[in-house]
């Protein structure tokens, strides 16, 4: 018997779980399945460290958060989406407080907030520096309360069931037994997270392989703004483990090999002993990562066996503050870098961190494909535009997870029953999986292809890009796609066949990579995280627009552009440092900050 639900959620991370709870609360009679390739609490949301933005401080305002987000995104954000997001974020974070999230507090018991990069006010809620971990576990544990949620833990979705232009479920492998099953539903929400594993050096976990993006793309939904990949300026060399922006928000300095706070040379303000909003180390991530590359070109970075680095200096913060505010940073440095930030400089370098682009959705999380919804990092609504501000992603999971959940619930309440004929597609998929992954004796190692893809992407679509390298990358990816047809799978077991999973993930990654290069080639301007050396200026005339990549029948990409939604904030110049953006509401506060005294 094929299990059938009203809504199937793919992904048990922050977005997926929030959506599941939203559905259960909207209509307790709906049946919900959460399908996830790892146990939900292992989802990558668990790694998020710094915090989640939501206007709560008395001196803050909704408009300021909107403006910071839009300017941070270099005016590529849809402003209606940003408005909805900023309005709902505080409520969502508050809801999480009511569900038990251990937010750090002020001495009087209220929730504390801290400054964050690109933000003009203190509005980042945090749970020390394990914010994502606490949010995910709170959501997961709270989701256990709802009897209507059936979980498919460690089930790997390989395909969407589409019939009659309508998405009606998924096909998934139960990893423990290896059996392939259809799980049908009136609506499907993809919350599968990002795709950092397209690149060699990333903060992202092994599971971030863009599965949902490719699932949607193959089913006919377009991917939006795929050229915008965020590099985080401070990753540990070798592992790529993230040192959260909170380390800079609490007062850390970035210094080059001469001990010089080099950001002052890149239009990011003048150094002050204490952090200043939207200035120096609290500039946006795209600018900081770009500054690193320039600094490296000037020969002022430090060479290590794992590439060039600069130093993050936290020593002046003192042991007490480090332990209270960023204990995980200390733990990670001690464990993985064998140094103690209380006494030592931390070597850091830019690292692929976040995908601004994703499955194209409207502000309710609906994709153009009826029955298909998406939320979280897998989706692109878009509130992040050309560069996401730190601490905007976690609240995005909540706001748009909940929105997608409600929209899907409503859709499912009215949708026709699932057409039993879609189940036949399971047989096709089953056959494909058997033939592609068990039937054939290939020669190519999965790891080799993956390494080559990652190298290709770094070479052609790194922090700075240009047409020749991008074209070369496109050609190389094409060759890798062909070689993929000849991969070797040594593992013939059906029980927990992780090699088969790696092969499927690689194929998802390859498609995502192709869409990124296609979109990057088509965007002949520089904006936010997308910097073309051959088109160094922003070009609002041609490219104040989202790129939409669709898949042609032969597997090639088609890129279109569609205008950005502008409501009240006409495109302006992005200014960081002391030169404040115009208007009283957008004044950069040139005063020292200190975040809440709570732990």
């Amino acid at each position: 018997m094929t299990p059938s639900y009203d809504v199937v959620l793919v992904g048990g991370g922050g977005a997926g779980l929030r959506a599941a709870i939203a559905i259960a609360e909207t209509n307790p009679r709906l049946t919900i399945a959460v399908v996830s390739k790892v146990y939900p609490m292992r989802s990558h949301t668990v790694s998020a460290e710094g915090g989640a933005a939501g206007v709560i401080a008395p001196d803050d305002s909704i408009d300021e958060h909107i403006y910071d987000t839009i300017s941070g995104g270099d005016w590529l954000c849809d402003q209606d989406a940003v408005e909805a997001f900023v309005h709902e974020a505080p409520q969502e974070l508050m809801r999480l407080e009511h569900w038990g999230c251990p937010w750090s507090r002020e001495p009087d018991g209220r929730v504390a907030v801290r400054p964050f990069g690109g933000m003009k006010k203190m509005r980042t809620w945090f749970a020390a520096d394990k914010t994502g971990f606490h949010m995910l576990h709170t959501l997961f544990q709270t989701s256990l309360k709802y009897g209507g949620v059936t979980r498919y833990d460690e089930w790997f979705v390989t395909r969407l069931l589409v019939d009659d232009g309508r998405v009606q479920g998924v096909v998934a492998i139960d990893l423990k037994s290896g059996r392939v099953e259809a799980i049908t539903a009136k609506a499907v929400i993809l919350c599968t997270g990002g795709c950092g594993k397209v690149f060699p050096f990333t903060t992202n976990a092994a599971i971030k392989t863009g599965d949902g993006m490719t699932l949607a793309y193959r089913a006919g939904a377009p991917l939006k703004d795929m050229e915008f990949v965020q590099y985080h300026p401070t990753g540990l060399p070798f592992t790529g483990i993230l040192i959260t922006e909170a380390a800079r928000a609490e007062g850390g300095y970035l210094i080059n090999k001469d001990g010089y706070r080099y950001l002052q040379d890149y239009n990011l303000g003048t150094p002050q002993p204490h952090p200043v909003f939207r200035s120096m180390e609290l500039g946006p991530r795209d600018r900081l990562s770009q500054a690193f590359v320039k600094e490296m070109e000037k020969g002022r970075t430090i060479e290590t066996p794992y590439g060039h680095v600069v130093h993050l200096d936290l020593r002046h913060l003192g042991e007490k503050k480090i332990n209270a505010k960023i204990p995980f940073v200390r733990e990670l440095c001690t464990k993985y870098q064998n140094l103690d930030p209380v006494r030592d400089l931390i070597p850091v370098r830019p690292v692929v961190h976040y995908m601004m682009g994703g499955i194209h959705t409207d502000i309710h999380g609906a994709t153009p494909l009826p029955g298909l919804f998406a939320a979280g990092e897998a989706a692109c609504v878009s509130i992040n535009g050309a560069n996401r501000l730190g601490s905007n992603s976690l609240p995005e999971l909540l706001v748009f997870g909940a929105r997608a959940g409600r929209a899907a619930a409503e859709y499912a309440s009215q949708a026709r029953e699932v057409d039993p004929r879609v189940i036949a597609q399971k047989t096709d998929e089953h056959r494909r999986l058997e033939q592609e992954l068990f039937g054939r004796k290939g020669r190519e190692r999965i790891a080799t292809l993956r390494d080559e893809m990652q190298k290709t992407m770094e070479a052609s679509a790194g922090i700075y890009r240009a047409a020749p390298a991008l074209r070369q990358g496109v050609a190389e990816l094409q060759r890798l796609q062909e070689r993929y047809a000849d991969i070797a799978i040594e593992d013939h077991s059906r029980t927990f066949n992780t090699e088969r999973v790696s092969a499927l993930e690689l194929s998802f990654l390859l498609d995502v990579a192709q869409s990124m290069l296609a979109a990057a080639l088509a965007r002949e301007e520089s904006r936010g995280a997308h910097q073309r050396t051959d088109f160094p200026k922003r070009d609002d005339q041609r490219f104040l627009a989202h790129s939409l990549v669709s898949r042609n029948a032969d597997g090639s990409c088609r890129v279109e552009h569609r205008p950005v939604t502008i409501t009240r904030w006409p495109p302006g110049e992005r200014v960081y440092g002391e030169a404040a953006p115009h208007g009283t509401a957008h004044q950069a506060a040139d005063r020292p900050l200190s975040s809440g005294a709570g732990v």
């Binding site: 256990l144 309360k145 009897g147 059936t150 833990d153 089930w155 139960d174």
Partner: protein, 140 residues
């Protein structure tokens, strides 16, 4: 309200490998052995309680029985048992007191008393009690 949860996964598969814990699991690593010795200390606590009852019985019977008891207690077998018992009851006392701070949170007003302080408190109590007992017995 009863929570009924359904799971998509296989609850148990006969092919999964289930390994029984060996009867000698406590020999696997030093910490387990220490645990078993700690638990085993109860046998010595029990033995010494019986020993005390024998002493009381001797006292009740009269001076001669008391002398016999003392003589018996000096026989090598009993002496050896009691030396071992001493080791175990000291071990018992230490492990039991060590566990105390983990089990209880002592508060003075709003502040939580540091675990080390709780532990020290126990040791101090131990010293005082031992001194009092010794004082009376050595004076008797």
């Amino acid at each position: 309200m009863e929570q009924t949860h359904t799971y998509g996964d296989t609850p148990y598969h006969p092919r999964w490998l289930r390994r029984r814990v060996s009867t000698y699991w406590w020999l696997w690593k030093p910490a387990y052995l220490r645990f078993i010795l700690r638990e085993g200390s109860c046998m010595f606590v029990g033995w010494f309680t019986v020993y005390l009852l024998l002493l009381l019985a001797a006292l009740l019977e009269g001076p001669l029985a008391y002398e016999l008891f003392l003589a018996w207690s000096a026989t090598p077998a009993v002496l050896i048992v009691n030396v071992v018992t001493l080791g175990f009851v000291v071990f018992h006392a230490i492990t039991f007191f060590q566990a105390a701070p983990q089990a209880m949170v002592v508060r003075l007003g709003r502040a939580r008393v540091a675990p080390q302080t709780v532990l020290l408190g126990h040791y101090a109590g131990w010293v005082v009690v031992s001194a009092v007992v010794a004082f009376f017995l050595l004076g008797a």
